[in-house]
C-alpha cells in the first residue's frame, strides 16, 4: 500500500513538470531544455517502481487508486494497471526521455512550448494506460489530441495545417461514438462507469455488436487499420521527428490497447462474431499496405505505411483469441515501439543534415556515415523481423498462434514478412548502400554523441527484447491468460 499513489505520480509529474517548462518560457530556451530533460527523467524514474514492485502472479489490477471525482454522475478517479498496461507505461516514459534528448538542437523555435507539449502529452498517454473509469479513460484519450494537434501544426512541415486538422478530426470522429457506447454501458450497468463493472455487464448480441462497432471505429482509426489509415501517412510526413516517434511508438498502441481493455472483455460475443472482419482487415493491412509501402518515395511515408502493416499483425493476434497470439501481439507492439521510433529517428538524422526525405536524394550514405549505417541496419533488420531482433519474436508468435486457429490466415500473414523485407531492404539499399551519387551526401557528418546515445539505447532494447523476451512475457502472461478466459465466456443473458 506504500505504493498507492505511484500511478498518479506517473501521470502528474510530467504534466506539472510540463507546465513548469512552459512557465520558463521560450526566451530561456536552454533552461527550458534542461528542465524538460530533468522532468522527463523524473517521470521515468517514478515509473520504475511500477516494474520492480509488480506482482507477475496475479491478473488483478495493481497499484489501484480510487477517489470520487464527479459524484453527480458517479465518475471516479480510478487507476490501476495489469501486465498489459505496465509495458506501455514504461515505454511511454522511456521514449519521452529519448524524444527530449533527440530534439535538443533541432527544435529552435518555441522550445519551451515544444518540450512542454511532449511532457503534458506523456502524462495523458500514461493516463490512458492506467485509467479504469470509462470517463477518465475517455478524457485522457481525447485530451491527448490537443498537444499532438499543436505539435504537428506548429512545428510540422509545409502541409502541416492540412495534416494536423485531418489527424484531429479523424480521431475525434472515431472517438465520439465510443463515448456514446460508454454512456450506453453506463445506463446498462447500474450507473457505473467502471471498466471492471462493464466487463461483467451482461449484454444482448445486437447491443454488443453496436458497441463493438463504436469501439472499433475509435480504435481502428487510432491504430490505424485499413481503410481508416489515411490520416497517418499525412500526419507522419508533416510531423516533426519527435512527433512522429511518439505517434508511431505510443499513440498507435493506444488503439490496440483499447481493443484489449475494452472491446474484447466488454463485448466478447460480438468480438467472436466479427472476428472474421477484423482478421480480414488485418490481413489487408499486412499484405496490401505493405505493397503500398514498397512504392513510396518519401522515407517517412514508407515507414508510416510499414507501421500500419506491422500493426496488422497486432490486430490479427488479438482476434484469433489465443494466448500465444495475444502475447505475441503485445511483444510486437513493444518491439514496434522501439523499432519505429528508431526508424523515424534515423530519418530525422538524415533530414536534419539534408532537409529532404526523398529516397532518391540519398545513396551511399554508408560510405560517409558508417556508424549511422550500422545502427540503421540493425533497426531495418528488426523491421524485417530477423531472428535475434525484437521484430521476430512478436511476428513469429502471432503467426504461430494464428496457425492453430486458421492456417490460411497464418500463411497469408507470413507473406507479410516477405513484403516487409522487400520494402525495408530496398529502402536501405537505395538510401544507404551503393556509391555516393549526390555531392551533398559526400559532405555528411556521422552521428554526434547525442544521436548515438539515443539510437544506441534503442538498439540495445531491440536486441534485448529479441534475444531474451522471457522477462517481458512473464509480466504480460497472467493478464493475457485472464483476458483469454474472459473472452471465451459468453455475456449474452440466458
Amino acid at each position: 500500500m506504500a505504493h498507492s499513489s505511484l500511478l498518479s505520480y506517473a501521470i502528474w509529474v510530467p504534466i506539472i513538470g510540463g507546465l513548469l517548462v512552459l512557465a520558463v518560457g521560450d526566451r530561456r530556451a536552454e533552461a527550458a531544455r534542461w528542465l524538460a530533460l530533468l522532468v522527463s527523467l523524473a517521470a521515468f524514474a517514478v515509473t520504475i517502481p511500477l516494474f520492480t514492485g509488480f506482482d507477475t502472479r496475479t491478473a488483478a489490477m495493481q497499484f489501484s487508486e480510487r477517489v470520487a471525482w464527479i459524484p453527480s454522475l458517479n465518475i471516479f478517479y480510478h487507476l490501476g494497471i495489469d501486465g498489459i498496461s505496465l509495458w506501455f507505461i514504461l515505454l511511454t516514459s522511456f521514449l519521452t526521455v529519448l524524444v527530449v534528448i533527440s530534439s535538443w538542437r533541432n527544435v529552435k523555435e518555441r522550445v519551451a512550448q515544444f518540450m512542454a507539449a511532449f511532457l503534458i502529452m506523456e502524462g495523458m498517454m500514461i493516463g490512458v494506460f492506467c485509467a479504469l473509469d470509462a470517463i477518465l479513460f475517455y478524457v485522457f484519450w481525447e485530451a491527448m489530441l490537443i498537444p499532438m494537434f499543436l505539435i504537428i501544426g506548429v512545428w510540422g512541415g509545409p502541409r502541416r495545417v492540412y495534416a494536423t486538422i485531418k489527424f484531429f478530426l479523424y480521431t475525434f470522429l472515431g472517438s465520439v461514438l465510443m463515448l456514446v457506447a460508454l454512456l450506453y454501458l453506463y445506463y446498462h450497468s447500474n450507473s457505473s462507469f467502471s471498466l471492471l463493472v462493464f466487463q461483467k455487464t451482461p449484454l444482448g448480441m445486437t447491443a454488443q455488436i453496436l458497441i463493438f462497432l463504436a469501439f472499433f471505429l475509435a480504435f481502428a482509426v487510432k491504430i490505424p487499420m485499413w481503410p481508416m489509415h489515411t490520416w497517418l501517412p499525412d500526419a507522419h510526413v508533416e510531423a516533426p521527428t519527435a512527433g512522429s516517434v511518439i505517434l508511431a511508438a505510443v499513440m498507435l498502441k493506444m488503439g490496440a490497447y483499447g481493443f484489449l481493455r475494452l472491446s474484447l472483455p466488454i463485448v466478447p460475443d460480438a468480438s467472436h462474431k466479427l472476428a472474421w472482419l477484423m482478421i480480414l482487415l488485418s490481413l489487408i493491412a499486412i499484405i496490401y499496405v505493405a505493397l503500398v509501402a514498397i512504392v513510396q518515395e518519401d522515407m517517412k511515408k514508407l515507414i508510416a505505411y510499414s507501421s500500419i502493416a506491422h500493426m496488422g499483425f497486432v490486430t490479427l493476434g488479438f482476434f484469433v483469441f489465443d494466448s500465444v497470439a495475444i502475447d505475441g501481439s503485445i511483444i510486437q507492439m513493444l518491439s514496434h515501439g522501439f523499432i519505429s521510433a528508431a526508424m523515424f529517428l534515423c530519418v530525422g538524422v538524415l533530414y536534419d543534415r539534408m532537409h529532404t526525405r526523398n529516397i532518391k536524394a540519398y545513396g551511399g550514405v554508408a560510405n560517409v556515415m558508417p556508424i549511422f549505417a550500422a545502427l540503421m541496419m540493425l533497426f531495418a533488420m528488426g523491421n524485417v523481423g530477423l531472428p535475434g531482433t525484437s521484430g521476430f519474436v512478436g511476428e513469429f508468435m502471432v503467426v504461430l498462434g494464428t496457425y492453430q486457429v486458421s492456417p490460411w490466415a497464418a500463411i497469408l500473414a507470413a507473406t507479410g514478412l516477405i513484403t516487409g523485407a522487400s520494402y525495408t531492404l530496398w529502402l536501405f539499399k537505395r538510401a544507404i548502400f551503393g556509391g555516393v551519387t549526390h555531392p551533398e551526401v559526400a559532405g555528411l557528418k556521422d552521428l554526434d554523441g547525442r544521436e548515438m546515445l539515443v539510437l544506441g539505447t534503442l538498439a540495445a532494447f531491440t536486441l534485448l527484447l529479441g534475444l531474451w523476451p522471457a522477462p517481458f512475457l512473464n509480466i504480460v502472461h497472467s493478464s493475457v491468460q485472464h483476458l483469454v478466459t474472459q473472452v471465451s465466456l459468453s455475456k449474452i443473458p440466458a
Binding site: 454522475l73 485522457f140 481525447e142 499543436l150 495545417v161 484531429f168 453506463y186
Partner: protein, 481 residues
C-alpha cells in the same frame, strides 16, 4: 404579520437590485460627469451585495405574494450565476466603452434592469410575473443593442431585435392567454393542477404549448427561431453581445423550468417531442452554418445555436437529471461565451473591432498568453477534454441516452465533430498562421485581462475538477419535478 414579513424577505435580492438600479441612475445624473467610474463601481457593489443577500436566503423555499413569487434552490443558484455573468460583463467593458465614447451610466442602469428582469423570471410563480420579468429583460436588451448610436449596424440590429423580439413575446403571451383561458388561473402551480383534468389532445392546450415553446425557443435562440441571433450578435457592440450571450440564457432556461416543468410537466410528452425537433434542427443549422462564417462574432452566434441544440438534449430527457444536465450546460455555455466575447473585446480598440477570424492571425506569437486562453475557450466550446465544455456535453448525452434516445445522442456527437472543425480553425489561425502587421497592437487593460484570464482558466480548472459545479447545478434542480 409574520408571513407578511416573510414575503418581503424572500424578495430582498430583487428589491436590492431595483433600488440600486435607481441609485445608479440618479447618482450618475448628478455626479456622472465628474466621477466617470462611479456607475461601474456601484454596479459591481450592487452585484456583490445581491450575491451576499442571495447566499443568505439559500436553503429556504416557498412562495410569496399570493404565488406570484417562488423561492427554491433553482432561484438561488440561477440568480447567483446571473450576477456572475453581469459582473464579468462589467469588468470587461470599461475600455471598450471608453474607446467608443459610450462609457455612460445608462449602460450599467440598463444592465441592472435587465438583470432584475432575469431575476423576476427566475423567481416568477405566475404567468403574470414571468411575463413581466421577460419584458423588463427584453426592453432593456433592445435599448442596450441600439445604445451605440453612431454605429449603423448596431442601430439596425437593435431595430431587428425589437421587431422580432416583440413578435416572440407576442407568441409567448398568446400561448399564456390560451392556457389561462383553459385553466382559469395565472398561478403556475394551479395550472399544473388544472391540467390533470385536460386531455393531452385538447386542441387549445396543444396550441398553448406550441406557442409557449416557440416563444421560449426564440428567447433561447433555438433554430428555426434563431434568425435574429446572428445579426444581433454581430451588429451589437461587443459588450452588449457578451451580455446577450450570457445571463439572458439563464433567464430563458428559467422560462422552461417555470412554464414547462412547474406548470406543464403533465404535458411532458407534448413538449418533449417539440424539443426533439428543435434540438435536431439547432444542432444541424448551428454547427453547419458556423463553418462558413468569416466574422467571429457571427460564428459564435451560430455556435450558440448549436449549443442550444446540445442543451435541449437534456430537456428532451425530461428527467430531473436531464434538466440538471441542461442547466449545467447552460451555465457552462454562459462561462464560455463570456470568455469568448470577452476576448474579442479585449483585442479590439478604437476603430478596430477584432471581429474577423483573420484578426486572430499569429496571435500565438504576438500575445502567447491570450492565444493560450483563446485555445482553452475554443477547445472548451468544441467539447474536448480536459475542458469543462466536455463535461457539459457528457452530462446531456448521458441524460438523453438514459431517456432512450440513443440515436439523438449519435447525431449530437457527430455534429460535435463538425463543430470542432470551426473552433479548430480559430486555433489554426492563432497558432499556425503568421501575424499581419496591422493587428499587432493590444491596448493594456489590466483589470479586464485579469478577469478574462480567471474566466478562461476556470474553463480548464473546472474541466479537471468538474464535480463541485455539477453538484451545484444538480442541487438547483432538486425537487423541481
Amino acid at each position: 404579520m409574520n408571513s407578511f414579513l416573510m414575503h418581503w424577505t424572500f424578495a430582498i435580492p430583487e428589491i436590492w437590485v431595483l433600488t440600486m438600479a435607481c441609485v445608479v441612475l440618479l447618482t450618475d445624473l448628478f455626479w456622472g460627469d465628474r466621477l466617470r467610474d462611479l456607475a461601474a463601481v456601484l454596479t459591481v457593489l450592487t452585484l456583490i451585495g445581491a450575491a451576499v443577500l442571495t447566499i443568505f436566503e439559500m436553503g429556504q423555499s416557498g412562495t410569496a405574494f399570493a404565488g406570484l413569487f417562488v423561492l427554491d434552490p433553482f432561484t438561488n443558484v440561477a440568480e447567483l450565476f446571473s450576477y456572475l455573468a453581469v459582473l464579468m460583463v462589467v469588468l470587461y467593458s470599461r475600455r471598450y466603452l471608453v474607446d467608443r465614447g459610450i462609457y455612460r451610466g445608462e449602460v450599467f442602469v440598463l444592465l441592472l434592469f435587465a438583470l432584475l428582469g432575469i431575476m423576476v423570471m427566475v423567481s416568477g410563480g405566475s404567468l403574470l410575473s414571468i411575463y413581466l420579468g421577460l419584458e423588463l429583460l427584453a426592453l432593456s436588451q433592445y435599448a442596450l443593442v441600439a445604445f451605440y448610436r453612431d454605429s449603423v449596424v448596431a442601430t439596425e440590429a437593435g431595430l431587428k431585435y425589437f421587431v422580432l423580439g416583440a413578435l416572440a413575446s407576442g407568441m409567448l403571451l398568446y400561448g399564456m392567454s390560451l392556457l389561462y383561458g383553459l385553466t382559469g388561473t395565472l398561478d403556475v402551480r394551479d395550472i399544473a393542477g388544472a391540467l390533470v383534468n385536460v386531455s393531452a389532445t385538447n386542441l387549445v392546450l396543444v396550441f398553448a404549448i406550441v406557442f409557449i415553446v416557440a416563444g421560449i425557443a426564440f428567447k433561447l435562440g433555438a433554430a428555426p427561431f434563431h434568425m435574429w441571433l446572428p445579426d444581433v450578435y454581430q451588429g451589437a457592440p461587443t459588450v452588449v453581445t457578451t451580455f446577450l450571450a450570457s445571463a439572458p440564457k439563464i433567464g430563458a432556461f428559467a422560462l422552461i423550468i417555470r412554464l414547462l416543468v412547474d406548470g406543464g410537466y403533465g404535458m411532458l410528452e407534448s413538449w418533449q417531442q417539440i424539443f426533439v425537433a428543435l434540438s435536431l434542427v439547432s444542432l444541424v443549422v448551428g454547427n453547419v452554418i458556423a463553418i462558413a462564417q468569416q466574422n467571429i462574432k457571427r460564428m459564435l452566434a451560430y455556435s450558440t445555436v448549436g449549443h442550444v441544440g446540445f442543451l435541449s438534449l437534456g430537456i428532451v430527457a425530461g428527467t430531473e437529471a436531464g434538466l440538471a444536465s441542461a442547466f449545467f450546460y447552460t451555465v457552462v455555455y454562459v462561462l464560455m461565451s463570456l470568455a469568448g466575447f470577452g476576448m474579442i473585446m479585449l483585442l479590439s480598440r478604437a476603430g478596430f473591432e477584432a471581429e474577423r477570424i483573420d484578426d486572430f492571425k499569429g496571435l500565438a506569437q504576438r500575445k502567447p498568453w491570450y492565444a493560450f486562453l483563446m485555445l482553452i475557450i475554443m477547445f472548451s466550446m468544441a467539447g474536448v477534454p480536459p475542458t469543462v465544455g466536455f463535461y457539459a456535453k457528457l452530462a446531456v448525452f448521458q441524460a438523453v441516452i438514459a431517456a432512450g434516445y440513443v440515436w439523438l445522442a449519435v447525431i449530437g456527437v457527430l455534429l460535435a465533430v463538425i463543430g470542432a472543425f470551426y473552433y479548430l480553425r480559430v486555433v489554426k489561425v492563432m497558432y499556425f498562421d503568421k501575424a499581419d502587421a496591422e493587428t499587432g497592437i493590444v491596448v493594456r487593460d489590466d483589470l479586464a485581462s485579469t478577469a478574462l484570464s480567471i474566466n478562461s482558466l476556470a474553463l480548464l480548472v473546472l474541466g479537471i475538477l468538474p464535480g463541485p459545479l455539477m453538484a451545484f447545478c444538480f442541487y438547483a434542480m432538486q425537487g423541481v419535478i
